[in-house]
């Protein structure tokens, strides 16, 4: 608990359950206070949500009673967020899966393809290249999770890990099955197409990484402050002039590159679904930027310059 002196204020605080409206506790003549429920270790702080409105957003750890829009009796609503799991755990699990699964298909582990193909390798060099790119992509993600990203929220609901892993692992298996298939057909335009695709892919991987580093540098270690991201000296970040979430833009570009490289319809589907999800996230992020910062650059779009 911090020891900064607070201005004296006479208030009452009551906490109601958001669902049943049962009064969970009532504190009279509160000056300043730390509220959390210590009764049961099951109700660890990460799963407690305290809010001003039963259906509203949770208050943050840093919120101060005095600065909240409440009267002399402050009414808060408690909601159990359910079992929580840390973001880092989820990311590591959901990204390790595709890495391992793809390699299983690449090495043609038994019971996937016909037995005569077990442990054989593809005769097309693009298949080897695709494996390297796919693996590189997920290794990069794992390393970023461990060393680059700074997470605002520590945790997410436990059920998300099943949902997310099904998505990532399922699509990885589906794509890997066709790319590493003995009957795989290489891209129509051959080396030209593959070379262009590789350039796009690498460009976007570097771009994506640059954005992640730039976003990390906006935030001092251990803090949860939010600031407007701006272009830095790194040219890959100049896209911030036009886009709020260039990390998603570059991610889309990477997968378009991979689609072009492999000329595989399941990869195109994966790219499309990912694009739809990232657009939803980008629009949300863009909206919250606009709400939080009055001087937010008006030229920026959420994910695609001028378009989306």
């Amino acid at each position: 608990m911090r020891s900064t002196p607070m201005i004296y204020c006479r208030r009452s605080v009551e906490i109601l359950d958001a669902k049943t409206k049962d009064k969970l506790c009532f504190l009279d003549k509160v000056r300043t206070y730390t509220i959390s429920f210590h009764h049961d270790p099951q109700w660890y702080p990460a799963r407690q949500s305290i809010r001003l409105d039963p259906k509203g957003k949770s208050l943050k750890d840093e919120d101060v009673l005095q600065h909240l829009p409440v009267g002399t009796t402050a009414t808060f609503y408690f909601r159990d967020l359910g079992a929580q799991i840390s973001w880092v755990t989820v990311f590591l699990t959901e990204y390790t899966g595709p890495l391992v699964i793809y390699l299983m298909f690449y090495f043609r582990v038994p019971f996937i393809y016909a037995p005569k193909y077990d442990f054989t390798t593809s005769k097309h060099w693009v298949v080897h290249l695709a494996c390297m790119c796919h693996s590189f992509h997920y290794v990069k993600r794992l390393l970023e999770t461990l060393f680059v990203h700074r997470f605002s929220h520590g945790t997410m609901p436990l059920r998300n890990i099943f949902k997310n892993c099904t998505y990532y692992w399922g699509f990885a298996a589906w794509m890997a099955y066709y790319i590493n298939h003995p009957l795989y057909t290489p891209p129509i335009y051959g080396e030209q197409q593959i070379r262009l695709a590789l350039i796009v892919f690498l460009f976007c991987q570097i771009g994506n990484f640059s954005i992640h580093v730039a976003l990390r540098n906006l935030r001092p270690p251990g803090s949860k402050t939010r600031k407007i991201p701006y272009p830095t000296k790194n040219p890959f970040t100049w896209i911030f002039l036009l886009v709020s979430c260039p990390n998603y833009t570059y991610e889309l570009g990477s997968w378009l590159g991979f689609t072009l490289m492999t000329q595989c319809l399941p990869v195109a589907f994966f790219t499309l679904v990912g694009f739809i999800q990232m657009t939803v996230w980008a629009k949300g992020k863009h909206r919250s930027y606009l709400k939080e910062f009055r001087d937010y650059p008006p030229l920026r779009s959420p994910i695609l310059p001028f378009v989306l």
Binding site: M6, T20, Y33, F37, D53, V64, P69, T72, F76, C264
Partner: protein, 281 residues
């Protein structure tokens, strides 16, 4: 978690514990609750939040949307009545149940496909149902109509087709008239009762007809490779419609009981208060 800074420097007249202890009884056993009515919030509570909740309660179709929906539901009721009449007349003319599908093929396709509009109604917001749920239900019907019955000619003379067409017809006539009367705020108890009772028989009947039809289609799909794509091809993609149909059949196992028991719960809720209400609302 809300944390307020603790004033360690002051020594006020009030003494209170450093943390709040809850009794287990109060915290346990919360049942999910639905509509949130904003409680008497402390004065000065965020007006935006309050207005938000109030606005949500008032939302619903406007006058124009209601008129459109009434017309839509009346048209659909009429359409399915046409199908019903068509079935009866064809049966009386032929004297057998066999091959009645052909006599109502066109209106069936037209009106069942037209139900896709209902997804739009949810998406636009004039009907308060889930887009996903409605989409799922409508698309599964459309799938059976076009991708199974229409596409595999050999199953069209099967009796299982008559089984699900009859189930659909009776269900839809009741359902669309239910919506029509509800929109006009004059729902006869008989319609409400029918809607929440007939399904008990019609739902399993329809499901049986659908499953038997898909099963009957399987050998033809396998033989002709209908809607299937094999490797190698330049898109590096494959699709086996035969396997897909089998997976669809399997999916009925978890889905059907859930939907069925959901309707049974709804029935208890809606008809449970039958004694309290008068016959016409």
């Amino acid at each position: 978690m809300l944390s307020l800074r603790h004033d360690t420097s002051g020594s006020g007249p009030c003494s209170f514990p450093d943390s709040v202890n809850l009794t287990a009884a109060v915290v346990q056993d919360q049942r999910p609750f639905r509509v949130g009515v904003m409680s008497a919030a402390a004065p000065g509570t965020s007006k935006a939040a309050h207005g938000d909740v109030a606005a949500k309660k008032k939302k619903g179709p406007g006058a124009l949307a209601t008129a459109y929906l009434v017309i839509y539901n009346v048209v659909m009721t009429a359409g399915w009545l046409v199908i019903a009449v068509g079935l009866v007349r064809a049966y009386l003319a032929r004297g057998s149940y066999h091959g009645l599908y052909y006599s109502i093929e066109k209106p069936l396709k037209f009106f069942q496909t037209g139900a896709i509009l209902e997804i739009l109604h949810c998406a636009v917001g004039i009907v308060p149902s889930s887009v996903v749920l409605t989409g799922f239900q409508v698309l599964s019907r459309v799938f059976l109509t076009w991708a199974v019955t229409h596409s595999v000619r050999e199953v069209q003379s099967e009796d299982s087709v008559l089984l699900f067409v009859t189930a659909w017809t009776v269900t839809e006539i009741i359902r669309y008239s239910f919506y029509t009367f509800s929109l006009l705020n004059h729902l006869p108890y008989l319609i409400k009762w029918a809607r929440y009772t007939f399904f008990i028989v019609l739902y399993p009947m329809g499901v049986t007809g659908e499953l038997l039809t898909i099963y009957a289609a399987l050998p033809y799909v396998q033989k002709t490779g209908l809607y299937s794509v094999t490797l190698p091809n330049k898109y590096n993609f494959s699709f086996d419609y035969y396997t897909f149909l089998i997976l669809i059949m399997i999916s009925y196992i978890p889905l059907f009981p859930q939907l069925y028991f959901h309707m049974i719960r709804q029935r208890k809720k809606v008809l449970g208060h039958a004694e309290d209400y008068s016959k016409v609302e």
